[in-house]
Symmetry: C2
Protein backbone atom coordinates (compact mmCIF):
# COMPACT_ATOMS: atom_id res chain seq x y z
CA UNK A 1 0.00 0.00 0.00
CA UNK A 2 1.48 3.31 -1.11
CA UNK A 3 0.20 6.67 0.08
CA UNK A 4 -0.37 9.77 -2.04
CA UNK A 5 1.58 12.93 -1.20
CA UNK A 6 -1.49 14.44 0.53
CA UNK A 7 -1.89 11.33 2.69
CA UNK A 8 1.82 11.47 3.60
CA UNK A 9 1.46 15.07 4.73
CA UNK A 10 -1.69 14.21 6.71
CA UNK A 11 0.10 11.35 8.48
CA UNK A 12 3.11 13.50 9.34
CA UNK A 13 0.87 16.37 10.52
CA UNK A 14 -1.28 13.99 12.57
CA UNK A 15 1.77 12.46 14.22
CA UNK A 16 3.21 15.89 15.02
CA UNK A 17 -0.15 17.08 16.41
CA UNK A 18 -0.35 13.97 18.62
CA UNK A 19 3.14 14.69 19.98
CA UNK A 20 2.37 18.37 20.61
CA UNK A 21 -0.92 17.71 22.39
CA UNK A 22 0.72 14.98 24.49
CA UNK A 23 3.60 17.24 25.46
CA UNK A 24 1.16 19.95 26.56
CA UNK A 25 -0.97 17.56 28.63
CA UNK A 26 2.08 16.08 30.40
CA UNK A 27 3.26 19.59 31.15
CA UNK A 28 -0.08 20.51 32.74
CA UNK A 29 -0.17 17.27 34.75
CA UNK A 30 3.42 17.23 36.02
CA UNK A 31 4.73 20.78 36.24
CA UNK A 32 3.13 21.86 39.53
CA UNK A 33 3.88 18.60 41.33
CA UNK A 34 7.53 18.95 40.41
CA UNK A 35 7.69 22.59 41.47
CA UNK A 36 6.28 21.60 44.85
CA UNK A 37 8.89 18.85 45.24
CA UNK A 38 11.65 21.23 44.16
CA UNK A 39 10.56 23.73 46.79
CA UNK A 40 10.60 21.11 49.55
CA UNK A 41 14.05 19.92 48.47
CA UNK A 42 15.42 23.44 48.27
CA UNK A 43 14.17 24.32 51.76
CA UNK A 44 15.58 21.05 53.13
CA UNK A 45 18.99 21.87 51.66
CA UNK A 46 18.83 25.49 52.84
CA UNK A 47 17.95 24.48 56.40
CA UNK A 48 20.76 21.96 56.38
CA UNK A 49 23.37 24.44 55.17
CA UNK A 50 22.30 26.95 57.86
CA UNK A 51 22.60 24.55 60.77
CA UNK A 52 24.96 21.76 59.80
CA UNK A 53 27.68 22.66 62.33
CA UNK A 54 25.23 22.15 65.19
CA UNK A 55 23.93 18.81 63.84
CA UNK A 56 25.00 15.32 64.86
CA UNK A 57 26.49 12.80 62.43
CA UNK A 58 23.20 10.87 62.48
CA UNK A 59 21.24 13.93 61.38
CA UNK A 60 23.74 14.66 58.61
CA UNK A 61 23.43 11.08 57.39
CA UNK A 62 19.64 11.37 57.32
CA UNK A 63 20.03 14.51 55.22
CA UNK A 64 22.22 12.57 52.79
CA UNK A 65 19.56 9.83 52.61
CA UNK A 66 16.83 12.40 51.89
CA UNK A 67 18.97 13.91 49.17
CA UNK A 68 19.38 10.49 47.54
CA UNK A 69 15.63 9.94 47.64
CA UNK A 70 15.12 13.36 46.05
CA UNK A 71 17.54 12.60 43.21
CA UNK A 72 15.79 9.26 42.66
CA UNK A 73 12.61 11.28 42.13
CA UNK A 74 14.29 13.34 39.42
CA UNK A 75 14.99 16.53 41.39
CA UNK A 76 18.60 17.70 41.17
CA UNK A 77 19.11 20.19 44.01
CA UNK A 78 22.24 21.78 42.55
CA UNK A 79 21.19 25.43 42.38
CA UNK A 80 21.40 27.59 45.43
CA UNK A 81 18.37 29.64 44.62
CA UNK A 82 14.91 28.19 44.20
CA UNK A 83 13.48 29.61 40.99
CA UNK A 84 10.67 28.80 38.58
CA UNK A 85 13.15 28.75 35.71
CA UNK A 86 14.57 25.27 36.21
CA UNK A 87 11.49 23.12 35.78
CA UNK A 88 12.09 19.76 34.12
CA UNK A 89 8.61 19.89 32.59
CA UNK A 90 9.06 22.91 30.32
CA UNK A 91 7.58 22.45 26.86
CA UNK A 92 10.76 21.37 25.06
CA UNK A 93 11.52 18.72 27.70
CA UNK A 94 7.91 17.53 27.70
CA UNK A 95 8.01 17.21 23.89
CA UNK A 96 11.32 15.31 24.04
CA UNK A 97 9.81 13.03 26.70
CA UNK A 98 6.74 12.27 24.55
CA UNK A 99 8.96 11.50 21.54
CA UNK A 100 11.24 9.20 23.53
CA UNK A 101 8.18 7.42 24.96
CA UNK A 102 6.37 6.79 21.65
CA UNK A 103 9.56 5.46 20.03
CA UNK A 104 9.83 3.15 23.12
CA UNK A 105 13.36 4.45 23.78
CA UNK A 106 12.29 5.59 27.26
CA UNK A 107 15.49 7.21 28.52
CA UNK A 108 13.80 7.78 31.85
CA UNK A 109 15.64 11.01 32.67
CA UNK A 110 12.12 12.41 32.88
CA UNK A 111 9.05 10.35 33.81
CA UNK A 112 5.59 11.17 35.18
CA UNK A 113 5.47 11.23 38.96
CA UNK A 114 1.77 12.00 39.53
CA UNK A 115 -0.93 9.30 39.34
CA UNK A 116 -2.71 11.34 36.65
CA UNK A 117 0.46 11.63 34.59
CA UNK A 118 1.15 7.89 34.87
CA UNK A 119 -2.34 6.82 33.81
CA UNK A 120 -2.35 9.34 30.96
CA UNK A 121 1.04 7.92 29.95
CA UNK A 122 -0.47 4.43 29.58
CA UNK A 123 -3.40 5.62 27.43
CA UNK A 124 -1.29 8.02 25.40
CA UNK A 125 1.32 5.37 24.56
CA UNK A 126 -1.35 2.73 23.85
CA UNK A 127 -2.38 4.66 20.73
CA UNK A 128 0.85 6.62 20.22
CA UNK A 129 3.23 3.65 19.84
CA UNK A 130 1.23 2.09 16.96
CA UNK A 131 0.96 5.55 15.38
CA UNK A 132 4.73 5.93 15.67
CA UNK A 133 5.24 2.50 14.04
CA UNK A 134 2.90 3.38 11.15
CA UNK A 135 4.78 6.65 10.70
CA UNK A 136 8.18 4.93 10.66
CA UNK A 137 6.93 2.23 8.24
CA UNK A 138 5.71 5.00 5.97
CA UNK A 139 9.14 6.64 6.00
CA UNK A 140 10.67 3.21 5.32
CA UNK A 141 8.38 2.73 2.30
CA UNK A 142 9.27 6.16 0.97
CA UNK A 143 12.98 5.33 1.32
CA UNK A 144 12.55 2.03 -0.52
CA UNK A 145 10.76 3.91 -3.33
CA UNK A 146 13.73 6.29 -3.61
CA UNK A 147 16.00 3.25 -3.58
CA UNK A 148 14.07 1.66 -6.48
CA UNK A 149 14.16 4.86 -8.52
CA UNK A 150 17.92 5.15 -8.02
CA UNK A 151 18.38 1.54 -9.20
CA UNK A 152 16.23 2.22 -12.30
CA UNK A 153 18.20 5.38 -13.07
CA UNK A 154 21.49 3.47 -12.86
CA UNK A 155 19.98 0.72 -15.08
CA UNK A 156 19.03 3.29 -17.72
CA UNK A 157 22.58 4.70 -17.56
CA UNK A 158 23.83 1.32 -18.74
CA UNK A 159 24.69 -0.39 -15.41
CA UNK A 160 23.70 -4.10 -15.20
CA UNK A 161 20.45 -4.73 -13.29
CA UNK A 162 22.08 -6.80 -10.52
CA UNK A 163 25.00 -4.37 -10.10
CA UNK A 164 22.58 -1.42 -10.02
CA UNK A 165 20.57 -3.06 -7.22
CA UNK A 166 23.72 -3.93 -5.29
CA UNK A 167 25.16 -0.44 -5.63
CA UNK A 168 21.88 1.16 -4.48
CA UNK A 169 21.67 -1.08 -1.41
CA UNK A 170 25.30 -0.36 -0.55
CA UNK A 171 24.67 3.38 -0.97
CA UNK A 172 21.71 3.28 1.45
CA UNK A 173 23.55 1.12 3.96
CA UNK A 174 26.57 3.43 4.01
CA UNK A 175 24.33 6.54 4.12
CA UNK A 176 22.29 5.00 6.96
CA UNK A 177 25.37 4.22 9.05
CA UNK A 178 26.79 7.68 8.33
CA UNK A 179 23.60 9.65 9.02
CA UNK A 180 22.35 7.66 12.01
CA UNK A 181 25.53 6.40 13.69
CA UNK A 182 28.76 8.14 12.63
CA UNK A 183 27.74 11.80 12.18
CA UNK A 184 25.70 11.97 15.44
CA UNK A 185 28.55 10.22 17.28
CA UNK A 186 31.10 12.78 16.07
CA UNK A 187 28.81 15.76 16.84
CA UNK A 188 27.77 14.42 20.26
CA UNK A 189 31.39 13.68 21.13
CA UNK A 190 32.35 17.31 20.40
CA UNK A 191 29.40 18.96 22.14
CA UNK A 192 29.22 16.74 25.22
CA UNK A 193 32.94 16.10 25.58
CA UNK A 194 32.45 12.32 25.60
CA UNK A 195 34.89 9.73 24.32
CA UNK A 196 34.30 7.99 20.94
CA UNK A 197 33.18 4.79 22.67
CA UNK A 198 30.69 6.75 24.80
CA UNK A 199 29.31 8.60 21.77
CA UNK A 200 28.88 5.41 19.68
CA UNK A 201 27.39 3.67 22.72
CA UNK A 202 24.86 6.50 23.18
CA UNK A 203 23.91 6.52 19.46
CA UNK A 204 23.45 2.74 19.47
CA UNK A 205 21.44 2.62 22.70
CA UNK A 206 19.13 5.27 21.23
CA UNK A 207 18.77 3.69 17.74
CA UNK A 208 18.08 0.24 19.18
CA UNK A 209 15.39 1.87 21.41
CA UNK A 210 17.03 0.34 24.48
CA UNK A 211 17.43 3.80 26.02
CA UNK A 212 19.15 3.19 29.37
CA UNK A 213 19.27 6.93 30.02
CA UNK A 214 22.77 6.77 31.57
CA UNK A 215 24.03 9.20 28.94
CA UNK A 216 21.81 12.12 28.03
CA UNK A 217 22.50 14.89 25.55
CA UNK A 218 22.66 18.18 27.41
CA UNK A 219 22.83 16.53 30.81
CA UNK A 220 26.57 17.07 31.10
CA UNK A 221 26.21 20.56 29.69
CA UNK A 222 23.46 21.36 32.20
CA UNK A 223 25.48 19.84 35.01
CA UNK A 224 28.57 21.90 34.27
CA UNK A 225 26.42 25.02 33.83
CA UNK A 226 24.78 24.41 37.19
CA UNK A 227 28.15 23.79 38.74
CA UNK A 228 29.43 27.06 37.34
CA UNK A 229 26.34 29.01 38.48
CA UNK A 230 26.64 27.49 41.92
CA UNK A 231 30.33 28.36 42.13
CA UNK A 232 29.85 31.97 41.05
CA UNK A 233 26.90 32.25 43.44
CA UNK A 234 29.14 31.34 46.35
CA UNK A 235 31.86 33.76 45.24
CA UNK A 236 29.42 36.68 45.08
CA UNK A 237 27.90 35.98 48.47
Amino acid sequence: MFYSRAQSCMLAAGYLAYLLVGALIFQVLEKDAERLQQGITFRMKEDFLKNFTSLSAVEVNIFVENLMETIRRGIYPAENEFSDEHNNWDFSNSFFFVGSMLSTIGYGNLSPKTAGGQLFCVFFALFGIPLNIVFLQHIGKMLSMVCERLAKWLYRKGVKKKTARGLTLLFFLVMGILVFLCVPSVIIRKIEGWSYSEAIYFAFITLSTIGFGDYMIGKYVTFSKQYFLFGSGWLLQ
Copy 2:
Protein backbone atom coordinates in the same frame (compact mmCIF):
# COMPACT_ATOMS: atom_id res chain seq x y z
CA MET B 1 7.63 -21.51 8.70
CA PHE B 2 6.92 -23.78 11.63
CA TYR B 3 9.65 -25.35 13.76
CA SER B 4 9.80 -28.92 15.02
CA ARG B 5 9.88 -29.57 18.78
CA ALA B 6 13.66 -30.20 18.65
CA GLN B 7 14.22 -26.91 16.83
CA SER B 8 12.06 -25.13 19.42
CA CYS B 9 14.17 -26.51 22.25
CA MET B 10 17.38 -25.59 20.41
CA LEU B 11 16.17 -22.03 19.92
CA ALA B 12 15.17 -21.66 23.58
CA ALA B 13 18.45 -23.21 24.77
CA GLY B 14 20.47 -21.02 22.40
CA TYR B 15 18.69 -17.90 23.62
CA LEU B 16 19.23 -18.85 27.26
CA ALA B 17 22.92 -19.63 26.61
CA TYR B 18 23.33 -16.25 24.88
CA LEU B 19 21.82 -14.52 27.93
CA LEU B 20 23.98 -16.45 30.41
CA VAL B 21 27.22 -15.85 28.54
CA GLY B 22 26.37 -12.16 28.16
CA ALA B 23 25.59 -11.82 31.87
CA LEU B 24 28.92 -13.40 32.77
CA ILE B 25 30.93 -11.17 30.41
CA PHE B 26 29.23 -7.99 31.69
CA GLN B 27 29.98 -9.10 35.24
CA VAL B 28 33.68 -9.57 34.45
CA LEU B 29 33.86 -6.22 32.65
CA GLU B 30 31.96 -4.08 35.16
CA LYS B 31 32.31 -5.57 38.62
CA ASP B 32 35.78 -4.30 39.53
CA ALA B 33 35.22 -0.81 38.13
CA GLU B 34 32.12 -0.50 40.28
CA ARG B 35 33.84 -1.79 43.39
CA LEU B 36 36.55 0.83 42.90
CA GLN B 37 33.95 3.58 42.54
CA GLN B 38 32.08 2.29 45.59
CA GLY B 39 35.27 2.42 47.65
CA ILE B 40 36.01 6.00 46.61
CA THR B 41 32.45 7.05 47.42
CA PHE B 42 32.49 5.31 50.76
CA ARG B 43 35.75 6.97 51.80
CA MET B 44 34.46 10.36 50.65
CA LYS B 45 31.36 9.93 52.80
CA GLU B 46 33.39 8.62 55.76
CA ASP B 47 35.81 11.57 55.61
CA PHE B 48 32.90 13.96 55.40
CA LEU B 49 31.09 12.48 58.40
CA LYS B 50 34.30 12.63 60.49
CA ASN B 51 35.01 16.30 59.82
CA PHE B 52 31.76 17.97 58.87
CA THR B 53 31.58 20.23 61.96
CA SER B 54 34.89 21.85 61.01
CA LEU B 55 33.92 22.35 57.34
CA SER B 56 32.59 25.52 55.71
CA ALA B 57 29.21 25.68 53.96
CA VAL B 58 31.02 25.77 50.60
CA GLU B 59 32.80 22.50 51.35
CA VAL B 60 29.56 20.87 52.49
CA ASN B 61 27.88 21.96 49.30
CA ILE B 62 30.72 20.49 47.23
CA PHE B 63 30.24 17.21 49.10
CA VAL B 64 26.54 17.28 48.19
CA GLU B 65 27.47 17.87 44.53
CA ASN B 66 29.90 14.93 44.58
CA LEU B 67 27.23 12.74 46.11
CA MET B 68 24.83 13.65 43.30
CA GLU B 69 27.45 12.82 40.69
CA THR B 70 28.01 9.47 42.43
CA ILE B 71 24.32 8.63 42.38
CA ARG B 72 24.15 9.57 38.71
CA ARG B 73 26.88 6.94 38.16
CA GLY B 74 24.73 4.30 39.81
CA ILE B 75 26.42 4.10 43.22
CA TYR B 76 24.04 4.48 46.15
CA PRO B 77 26.16 5.29 49.21
CA ALA B 78 23.55 4.33 51.78
CA GLU B 79 25.46 1.73 53.76
CA ASN B 80 27.85 2.78 56.48
CA GLU B 81 30.27 -0.03 55.94
CA PHE B 82 32.05 -0.67 52.68
CA SER B 83 31.63 -4.33 51.84
CA ASP B 84 31.99 -6.56 48.82
CA GLU B 85 28.46 -7.84 49.32
CA HIS B 86 26.56 -4.96 47.75
CA ASN B 87 27.86 -5.06 44.19
CA ASN B 88 25.32 -4.10 41.53
CA TRP B 89 27.00 -6.47 39.08
CA ASP B 90 26.33 -9.75 40.85
CA PHE B 91 25.20 -12.54 38.51
CA SER B 92 21.44 -12.17 39.01
CA ASN B 93 21.60 -8.41 38.37
CA SER B 94 23.85 -8.91 35.36
CA PHE B 95 21.42 -11.50 33.94
CA PHE B 96 18.45 -9.18 34.56
CA PHE B 97 20.38 -6.38 32.84
CA VAL B 98 21.10 -8.52 29.76
CA GLY B 99 17.44 -9.57 29.53
CA SER B 100 16.18 -6.01 29.81
CA MET B 101 18.69 -4.91 27.16
CA LEU B 102 17.85 -7.57 24.55
CA SER B 103 14.11 -6.93 24.93
CA THR B 104 15.00 -3.20 24.38
CA ILE B 105 13.20 -2.33 27.62
CA GLY B 106 16.42 -0.80 28.97
CA TYR B 107 15.33 0.26 32.44
CA GLY B 108 18.75 1.81 32.94
CA ASN B 109 18.94 1.14 36.69
CA LEU B 110 22.13 -0.70 35.72
CA SER B 111 24.25 0.19 32.68
CA PRO B 112 27.88 -0.44 31.69
CA LYS B 113 30.25 2.29 32.88
CA THR B 114 33.55 1.03 31.45
CA ALA B 115 34.54 1.60 27.80
CA GLY B 116 34.91 -2.18 27.37
CA GLY B 117 31.45 -2.82 28.80
CA GLN B 118 29.89 -0.19 26.54
CA LEU B 119 31.47 -1.51 23.34
CA PHE B 120 30.62 -5.10 24.27
CA CYS B 121 27.06 -3.88 24.91
CA VAL B 122 26.81 -2.60 21.32
CA PHE B 123 28.09 -5.85 19.77
CA PHE B 124 26.11 -8.06 22.13
CA ALA B 125 22.83 -6.25 21.44
CA LEU B 126 23.51 -6.12 17.68
CA PHE B 127 23.04 -9.90 17.51
CA GLY B 128 21.01 -10.35 20.68
CA ILE B 129 18.06 -8.08 19.78
CA PRO B 130 17.32 -9.96 16.51
CA LEU B 131 17.72 -13.25 18.41
CA ASN B 132 15.23 -12.00 21.01
CA ILE B 133 12.77 -11.01 18.24
CA VAL B 134 13.09 -14.44 16.57
CA PHE B 135 12.51 -16.08 19.95
CA LEU B 136 9.41 -13.97 20.68
CA GLN B 137 8.04 -14.55 17.16
CA HIS B 138 8.47 -18.28 17.72
CA ILE B 139 6.49 -18.07 20.97
CA GLY B 140 3.86 -16.03 19.12
CA LYS B 141 3.61 -18.72 16.42
CA MET B 142 3.25 -21.45 19.03
CA LEU B 143 0.47 -19.46 20.73
CA SER B 144 -1.35 -18.97 17.42
CA MET B 145 -1.10 -22.74 16.82
CA VAL B 146 -2.70 -23.37 20.22
CA CYS B 147 -5.34 -20.75 19.31
CA GLU B 148 -6.13 -22.57 16.05
CA ARG B 149 -6.39 -25.94 17.78
CA LEU B 150 -8.79 -24.51 20.36
CA ALA B 151 -10.97 -23.04 17.58
CA LYS B 152 -11.00 -26.42 15.77
CA TRP B 153 -11.90 -28.22 19.01
CA LEU B 154 -14.83 -25.81 19.59
CA TYR B 155 -15.91 -26.30 15.94
CA ARG B 156 -15.95 -30.06 16.39
CA LYS B 157 -18.04 -29.60 19.58
CA GLY B 158 -20.76 -28.01 17.39
CA VAL B 159 -19.93 -24.32 17.75
CA LYS B 160 -20.23 -22.28 14.53
CA LYS B 161 -16.90 -21.60 12.79
CA LYS B 162 -17.11 -17.79 13.15
CA THR B 163 -18.25 -17.96 16.79
CA ALA B 164 -15.47 -20.47 17.60
CA ARG B 165 -12.83 -18.13 16.14
CA GLY B 166 -14.30 -15.16 17.99
CA LEU B 167 -14.44 -17.02 21.30
CA THR B 168 -10.85 -18.22 20.95
CA LEU B 169 -9.58 -14.73 20.19
CA LEU B 170 -11.53 -13.32 23.16
CA PHE B 171 -10.12 -16.06 25.40
CA PHE B 172 -6.55 -15.24 24.40
CA LEU B 173 -7.10 -11.50 24.71
CA VAL B 174 -8.55 -11.84 28.22
CA MET B 175 -5.84 -14.35 29.23
CA GLY B 176 -3.13 -12.06 27.85
CA ILE B 177 -4.41 -9.03 29.76
CA LEU B 178 -4.77 -11.15 32.92
CA VAL B 179 -1.37 -12.88 32.72
CA PHE B 180 0.68 -9.92 31.50
CA LEU B 181 -1.07 -6.89 32.98
CA CYS B 182 -3.51 -7.62 35.83
CA VAL B 183 -1.83 -10.45 37.78
CA PRO B 184 1.66 -8.83 37.76
CA SER B 185 0.09 -5.51 38.76
CA VAL B 186 -1.67 -7.06 41.76
CA ILE B 187 1.44 -9.01 42.86
CA ILE B 188 3.80 -6.04 42.37
CA ARG B 189 1.40 -3.78 44.25
CA LYS B 190 1.45 -6.13 47.25
CA ILE B 191 5.21 -6.81 47.30
CA GLU B 192 6.42 -3.28 46.55
CA GLY B 193 3.69 -1.40 48.39
CA TRP B 194 2.83 0.67 45.32
CA SER B 195 -0.59 2.07 44.43
CA TYR B 196 -2.72 0.40 41.71
CA SER B 197 -1.93 3.19 39.24
CA GLU B 198 1.81 2.80 39.90
CA ALA B 199 1.65 -0.99 39.45
CA ILE B 200 -0.32 -0.81 36.18
CA TYR B 201 2.00 1.97 35.00
CA PHE B 202 5.07 -0.20 35.74
CA ALA B 203 3.58 -3.26 33.98
CA PHE B 204 2.66 -1.19 30.93
CA ILE B 205 6.02 0.62 30.71
CA THR B 206 7.71 -2.81 30.83
CA LEU B 207 5.41 -4.55 28.30
CA SER B 208 5.61 -1.69 25.81
CA THR B 209 9.46 -1.90 26.15
CA ILE B 210 9.55 1.82 26.99
CA GLY B 211 11.33 1.05 30.28
CA PHE B 212 11.81 4.45 31.94
CA GLY B 213 13.37 2.79 34.98
CA ASP B 214 11.66 5.17 37.41
CA TYR B 215 9.99 2.22 39.12
CA MET B 216 12.05 -0.91 39.71
CA ILE B 217 10.99 -4.15 41.36
CA GLY B 218 13.05 -4.64 44.49
CA LYS B 219 14.42 -1.11 44.47
CA TYR B 220 12.04 0.03 47.17
CA VAL B 221 12.67 -3.16 49.11
CA THR B 222 16.43 -2.70 48.84
CA PHE B 223 16.11 0.93 49.83
CA SER B 224 14.12 0.20 52.96
CA LYS B 225 16.49 -2.67 53.83
CA GLN B 226 19.48 -0.39 53.47
CA TYR B 227 17.72 2.24 55.52
CA PHE B 228 17.07 -0.27 58.26
CA LEU B 229 20.65 -1.59 58.18
CA PHE B 230 21.95 1.95 58.32
CA GLY B 231 19.67 2.82 61.24
CA SER B 232 20.64 -0.25 63.29
CA GLY B 233 24.31 0.39 62.48
CA TRP B 234 24.08 3.79 64.07
CA LEU B 235 22.26 2.46 67.11
CA LEU B 236 24.93 -0.18 67.75
CA GLN B 237 27.80 2.28 67.39
